[in-house]
Every structure is written in structure tokens, then in C-alpha cells.
């Protein structure tokens, strides 16, 4: 699998990271309102990676993972996914519902809707941050959730992107409450044209 030819330099990655920080700031407020609990979200790391490497971030291709996926429409098309390793997902459920399912089979509509809602909030905050910064109009389609092997989830997202040649921006995310934290990976897969337009608008476009 080839990685996007236009590799991102430190400046562009820091723009993405800044964007994620702004977006997550909004999302934190929204989640705290939803749950009536104080939360904190941070972005320890943002990097550009090949799509095939994402399961390795989670801990392995067969690792049980909760994936929330949405496609993005508007001026910059693309795909957004939020991936949580199973034990992080359990922590998240405990933070919000007070308890967590022990196995994937125990995940019912309630647990799934928590993930759908988190996906909605975080993704729309992220997209709003992009819109505010660039004036591009973006919106996400309703989210879908899967509890599966990391590779199986990722593969299905790659297929939606309809190409294995896209590169992805992986934004490591920590969601913390008083009891501790959960790590997830926010994955943004913009179309190549979209990414190009985005940086162009920010004045970080490539010189010819």
C-alpha cells in the first residue's frame, strides 16, 4: 500500500493538531453537558500514517475495537472514524453509564447509542473547527458503530473511501474524568483534493 505522496511536514501537522485541540475543546463542553460530569480531553499526538498501520495503534489487527464511523460531505469530502481499544471503550461506558459490558455480545442499543453520540459530538466539533478556520462547509453523515477486530473495521472504512491509497491523519485522544482516562484514536481520512484545498486555504499550500 502506498502512502500519500504529499507527505505532511511539521508545520501542517501542527495545524491539524491545533484544529483537533479546538474541536475537542468544543466537544469536551458538549460531553460534559450531556453527562453532567466534568471531563477533559487532550491531544497528545497527531501524525500522518498509512491506513494499514491504524490497527497497529490499537494494539493489533485482531484486537477487539469499538469503531465509530462517519463519512464527511461538503467542500472537503472524506471520512472520520473514532477507534477505541476495547478496554478504553469499557472505561468510557463506565464514565458515562456507570457500568460497562464485559463482552461485545452484551453491547446493546444503549451502549451503542453512547458511542454514536460521542462520535456525533466529537466529529461535529472537529468539522466545525475546520469550518470556522477555513470557511469551508462540511457536514457528517449519521454515524455507525462496530465492535470488531481492528483490521475488519478499518478495512470497511478504507473500502468506503474506495481506495487504499489515501493517507490518514491519526489524532491520539485522551478523554479523562476524575476516575482516570481512556485513550482513543481519532482518524481523519480527507480526500487528497480536500487536504490540498484545506492547506491552500490556510496559506500552507505547496509551492506549485
Amino acid at each position: 500500500m502506498s502512502i500519500n505522496s504529499s507527505s505532511l511536514d511539521a508545520l501542517r501537522l501542527s495545524a491539524i493538531k491545533e484544529l483537533a485541540n479546538i474541536g475537542l475543546g468544543h466537544a469536551t463542553t458538549a460531553i460534559a453537558e450531556l453527562t453532567q460530569k466534568p471531563f477533559n480531553m487532550s491531544v497528545p499526538r497527531a501524525e500522518q500514517i498509512g491506513l494499514e498501520q491504524i490497527p497497529l495503534l490499537i494494539g493489533g489487527r485482531e484486537e477487539q475495537t469499538v469503531g465509530i464511523y462517519m463519512s464527511v460531505e461538503g467542500d472537503i469530502t472524506g471520512h472520520i472514524a473514532f477507534m477505541f481499544p476495547w478496554n478504553s471503550a469499557q472505561k468510557l461506558w463506565t464514565m458515562i453509564l456507570g457500568s460497562a459490558p464485559e463482552t461485545a455480545e452484551q453491547v446493546g442499543e444503549l451502549e451503542a447509542s453512547v458511542m454514536l453520540e460521542i462520535g456525533n459530538i466529537v466529529n461535529s466539533s472537529f468539522l466545525n473547527a475546520i469550518s470556522d478556520m477555513t470557511d469551508f462547509k462540511l457536514h457528517a453523515t449519521p454515524p455507525m458503530v462496530s465492535i470488531e477486530m481492528a483490521a475488519a473495521i478499518l478495512e470497511s472504512i478504507v473500502l468506503e473511501a474506495y481506495s487504499a491509497d489515501h493517507c490518514a491523519l491519526s489524532i491520539e485522544t485522551r478523554i479523562v474524568d476524575e476516575q482516570g482516562g481512556a485513550e482513543g484514536y481519532f482518524v481523519y481520512i480527507p480526500s487528497e483534493q480536500g487536504l490540498h484545498d484545506f492547506f491552500e486555504r490556510l496559506g500552507l499550500g505547496e509551492a506549485a
Binding site: A112, L116, M144, S146, M149, I153, L154, E155, S156
Partner: protein, 168 residues
């Protein structure tokens, strides 16, 4: 001696003469398709991702698409001495892993389309598929041990199970 371990990644085609263990890890809507000629002792696996190649783009990865991948696997096996009429095949994958959400019903049906496209190729090439584990919501890992002909499948919630034997 441990036999050769062959990891068949997205769009990969792997073939071997003699012993070898093939694995497609975490198949979602993709399909793992394996074939073995027990007489020539030649086996192979392909990990197809999409039903059809893009007509307007050069296809440098035939294994990526069902309409080119199955034929390319057969060709690679024939190069190692297999004959098409002796090939015994099995397939797994083609799931819809997104189970929850408002529009799961009308999105991401690529798994089902992949399975149909592979079936079409199987018919066209006159291949014999003795077992298929496709559809549903579960991601699958598929393994073939060329020495025994055993094809095994596992999911996150199910123990490894024997799908079939490609050797009598």
C-alpha cells in the same frame, strides 16, 4: 520445522508450492479466497477488497478486485504447476461490520457485493468452491494450512473453527 507463514494483506496474492500457512487477518467486507491443487501441491490465497476494478484507471494491483483477483490467483497457481480443474477452493469474509446506527441498512453493502462478484468469477473460471463463510456482521480471520488442506476461521466472539479441508 515450522512451515512458511504467509500473511496475506489487503490486495495481496500469495502462492506457495509445498507446505505453507496462509492467513488473512481481520477480514471485514473484504473476501479471503484460497485455492489448493492437492496433486501438484500448490496453494494460494488472495485478499480482495472491491468487486470491480476501475475501468478508467490502470490496475496495478489485480488482487485488490474480485473481477481481476481470482483470475490472477489462478494464474499464479498455474505458473507453479497447478491445473485449474484440480483446484479446490474456499472463501470467507464479505461481512457488514457496522451493526449500529441510523443508516447501516443502506450503506456499506460492499461485503455482499464482493461475495457476489467472487461467485461470478468462480462460475466464469469453472472453479470448485467447497465451503464459504460469508456475510453477517462478524469480522473474520481465515487461515489455510497447505500441508493438511485445513481452512480455519475465527472471529472475536467465536473460537477457531474448521471450515473445510481442501484435501480429501
Amino acid at each position: 520445522m515450522t512451515p512458511t507463514q504467509l500473511l496475506v494483506g489487503m490486495a495481496d496474492i500469495q502462492v506457495v508450492k509445498g507446505p505453507g500457512c496462509f492467513t488473512c487477518l481481520g477480514l471485514g467486507s473484504c473476501i479471503g479466497f484460497c485455492a489448493l491443487d492437492p496433486v501438484a501441491n500448490v496453494a494460494g490465497m488472495v485478499h480482495v477488497m472491491l468487486p470491480e476494478h476501475f475501468k478508467d484507471k490502470p490496475n496495478d494491483m489485480p488482487g485488490k478486485f474480485a473481477d481481476t483477483g481470482i483470475a490472477a490467483l489462478v494464474q499464479a497457481l498455474e505458473k507453479l504447476g497447478a491445473s485449474r480443474s484440480k483446484l479446490v477452493c474456499a472463501m470467507a469474509g464479505g461481512a457488514q461490520v457496522f451493526k449500529f446506527g441510523a443508516n447501516v441498512a443502506n450503506k456499506l453493502d460492499i461485503g455482499a457485493r464482493n461475495a457476489l462478484a467472487v461467485d461470478e468469477q468462480v462460475k466464469k473460471l469453472g472453479l470448485k468452491v467447497i465451503a464459504r463463510d460469508v456475510g453477517g456482521h462478524a469480522g473474520r480471520t481465515m487461515m489455510l494450512d497447505a500441508a493438511t488442506g485445513e481452512v480455519k476461521v475465527r472471529t472475536v466472539s467465536q473460537e477457531e473453527k474448521l471450515l473445510c479441508r481442501l484435501r480429501a
